[in-house]
Amino acid sequence: MIAAHHHVVDGARLQTDQQLEADVVIVGTGAGGGVAAELLARSGLRVIMLETGPLQVARDFDMQEQRAYNRLYAEGGNLTTADYSIALLRGRAVGGGTTVNWTTSLRTPVQTVEYWVDRFGLPEVAEEKIAPWFDWAERRFNIKPWEVAPNANNEVLKTGCEKLGLEWAVIPRNVKGCADLGYCGMGCPLGAKQSMLVTTIPSALEYGASLYARTRAWKLEIRHGNVEALIAQALDEQSINPTGVNIRIRAKHYLLAGGAIQSPALLMRSGAPDPYRVLGKRSFLHPVNTSLARMPMAVDAFFGAPQSIYSDHYQWPDGAEGPAGFKLEVPPIHPGLAAGILGWHGEKLAGEMKELPRINALLALQRDGFDKQSPGGVVELQSDERGVLDYPLNEHLWDGVRRAWHAMAEIQFAAGAQAVMPGHLDAGFATSLAGVSAQIDRLPLEPYKAALFSAHLMGGCGMGANPRESVIAASGRHHQLENLTVVDGSVFPTSVGANPQLSIFAQAARMTTGLAREMQPGALADLP
């Protein structure tokens, strides 16, 4: 746990400009940054962590949506892609996404790994090479298949799959002493979730690292293929506007872990070399569409471990390439978010909300970035120099969305649903599979009509052997900048095809260990 003797600075409180020095400065404290901080600090290196969001700990996690979104999510939970067509959930506090994520901890699918090896020339991440890093991360974050019975919301997915003979599996979770509360998305009030906030960050601080919260890395000073300094801005209480106080940090090595969108944006703002114009391209989201079911019994999807069952039955229809594949999962359902997603108002909304305890929702996570019809989105800088993701929707994706609505409705009816409704403004609850199928076939596949969202931001600083189509090498090192490494979700050359945190833990540990051993020979002897 973060303790009084740790060196933690709140940017909002800083009154004067600062000049700092370190061996390594880490931008961002999420899945990638958290793992890196602990390993580097443990190696005896002087580490400074920078985090845009505030430091919020278990006691602050009051299980209220209102406080959680405003404090812990980018844009108070209102972030979207450039044309507003996909809602983006992104954690923005110490611990990044791991502070608010739903604890699903899956390894990178073999199909994905093989595709990266073949297509992007990455033998370093082949199945047998990466497996020890997964073993390490699973031990470090206590990741185990969830032993408690799934909550009724997850049970719908399981039952439906069983009835239809579709494959399904139990989700491993990164928890210790979890009371099956169901508030992972608002910050775990028990400290049971093994997020960076309660594991690697306190550990890095114990090894002497410093943490600057409400402090945003703004620009890198780059000269002759080398980063010479990092300029960070202290931010106000809301972690939005700079207070005017700046922090200049000189380090031997610069580690980017601000997450997809943010890491590419920082490089762009800094005018980092990008000779082949690949920076920020190939950004992926696992775009999600939803299907709602009215069940005969109470589902109470606000309670219980949010995700404990998944199905990959439709994930690899034609191997890695070809038509879109999707993973099926369920979300936790709390009133605020649910009301916003339903897309109704007035008496219709009032009537449907009354039924919320009987609502089950399924999610389809579309696996983007594999087929050539699925190039993903592009990170660009807005006029205020902040990053925004332009993610055009295309036929390849819409085809997956439509097939997923059919598949989800079938599962929900098989599990006993009384009525099913695809998440689309023109849809309504239909009481038979035939009824909903007819509806799905007719629904216009248009942005804003279809409710789409994502909590998985990936890519934009993709790794690969060829600098013409990648930003970093397999080591995590930037192709053109000597002393800069990227270790977050932006490094993936396609989407992962599974919830990304464990893939990020493993890649960040692999890359950071390489760097630590370079800077401090003999370091981290106990790691693979």
Binding site: D62, E75, P335, A338, A339, G346, N394, P444, P447
Partner: protein, 209 residues
């Protein structure tokens, strides 16, 4: 009324978002215009020569005020339609809950960065200025003078429109109000939600970290 309908239809047509094929082609070179709120709605504000003037806040000071008074007033006027069947009937209770709602909205708006804040300001400004309001809603009179049914009608038109920008305006505006309504504990019961388990709440209050 028929004239209004015809003009609005022309206006809607101009606002029709580019089709997917075009978007697709353009994905390589980013067009900053795509980020401009509701393209057409912003255009409407411009047409009226108002942008921020009407809302009482130009883009340079939007950041400092969570919700300008005129914006809060507009949302207060829209709320009885958006939350019809949820807001208390009794006048005092109704005023209290509207106040509570507006304060939640204000908090949530304060966590928006400049760009998102500006887009919201533009939408509200377009609803405030007469010409743009008429184009968007068919109503000449100020929304404060419109009935719950009239507001409900244009919301439904936005919702059911085949023009993406209107669907987006619908989602943006209703979401702001309904989300902030249902995050308030006083309204959990309307969603059959008991709230967080009391043992966990009590335990958490006792924690020292």
């Amino acid at each position: 009324m028929r004239l209004a309908a015809a003009v609005r239809q022309r206006y809607f047509d101009r606002m029709r978002p580019r089709n997917r094929q075009e978007d697709w082609q353009e994905s390589r070179s980013f067009d900053p215009q795509r980020r401009r709120f509701l393209g057409g709605l912003a255009g409407a504000a411009w047409l009226a020569g108002t942008g921020g003037v009407v809302s009482g806040c130009s883009s340079s000071n939007v950041l400092r005020v969570p919700l300008a008074a005129v914006e809060a007033d507009l949302l207060r006027v829209l709320a009885p339609s958006v939350l019809h069947g949820l807001l208390p009937i009794q006048p005092n209770e109704r005023t209290d809950s509207l106040n509570e709602l507006l304060s939640a909205v204000s908090t949530s708006v304060s966590s928006l960065s400049g760009d998102s804040r500006e887009q919201l300001a533009r939408l509200l400004a377009a609803l405030d200025y007469r010409v743009t309001r008429w184009l968007l809603t068919g109503l000449w009179k100020p929304l404060a003078e419109a009935s719950i049914e009239e507001i409900d009608e244009f919301l439904n038109n936005w919702r059911n429109s085949s023009i993406g920008r209107f669907n987006l305006a619908y989602r943006t505006l209703t979401r702001l109000l309904v989300n902030n309504w249902f995050v308030l504990p006083a309204h959990f019961a309307q969603a059959g939600y008991p709230g967080p388990p009391s043992w966990a709440v009590e335990l958490n209050v006792l924690r020292d970290v």
